[in-house]
């Protein structure tokens, strides 16, 4: 799955995007994000607090309990601050 990161999440991880296979047993967005924490120090810092993260699956805002099935792109970012 393609993972895309924005703003402070992108900076902490040090990547705009990366491709990762969905790990065995990960069914939801939250499962995937918890697993990603183990991938680097940057991931651990960026993804530490699920409640301070927002997610979009194939460009639609979803919550951490959304199922990953058939998703192609998961975006992970802090709460939006436009306008």
């Amino acid at each position: 799955m393609k993972l895309v990161y924005f703003a402070s999440v992108r900076e902490a991880i040090g990547l705009s995007s990366e491709d990762r296979d969905i790990p065995y047993g990960a069914r939801t967005v939250g499962d995937f994000v918890v697993w990603l924490r183990g991938q680097s120090q940057g991931h651990a810092v960026a993804l530490d607090d699920l409640s301070r993260l927002r997610f979009a699956l194939d460009q639609n805002m979803v919550t951490a309990d959304a199922l990953l099935v058939d998703g192609e792109e998961l975006a992970i970012f802090p709460p939006v601050t436009g306008g």
Binding site: A7, E73, A75, F77, P78, P79, V80, T81, G82, G83
Partner: protein, 146 residues
């Protein structure tokens, strides 16, 4: 007339509203968000999620036109570096009578703030920069339209 625009060059309220102004309605309402010199901020930098942004803003406009009888609505948002004093966002709505345009304008900016994938970073005179934190008050204002 529904128009969404993401611009990486300077925007002005009048240019973004020009089509709405000539649409034949009696009422034209707008809101412009401007970069504020807030504790030494020299500019803000706007990042967005290109493949998602336009669709999000279009959904906000669709929600407004479903809710109020509008002749037109526009949302234009800057991205990139925006210096103090320059507009970051312009929203506008035209209608036959004023209640619709006024309420839709507030709705458009309130929903944009919580629903559209933009992130702001403040740049300071000393060269430092800081991501802006989301405000709970924005969620509250957006939810009152639910």
């Amino acid at each position: 007339m529904k128009k969404v625009r993401i611009s990486n060059t300077p925007i002005t309220t009048e240019a973004e509203l020009s089509t709405l102004a000539g649409i034949g309605g009696g009422a034209l309402s707008s809101f412009t968000g401007i970069v504020r010199d807030d504790g030494g901020v020299t500019a803000i930098e706007l990042e967005h999620y290109p493949s998602m942004t336009e669709a999000c803003l279009s959904r906000v406009i669709e929600a407004a036109t479903a809710r109020w009888s509008l002749l037109g609505a526009v949302v234009t948002h800057r991205v990139g570096i925006v210096p103090v004093g320059d507009p970051v966002v312009v929203v506008g709505a035209a209608s036959l009578h004023r209640a619709e345009a006024l309420e839709a304008t507030a709705f458009l900016i309130d929903r944009l703030k919580t629903d559209a994938p933009f992130w702001k970073r403040e740049h300071y005179a000393d060269g430092t920069a800081k991501w802006v934190e989301a405000k709970l008050s924005d969620d509250t204002r957006s939810e009152r339209w639910a």
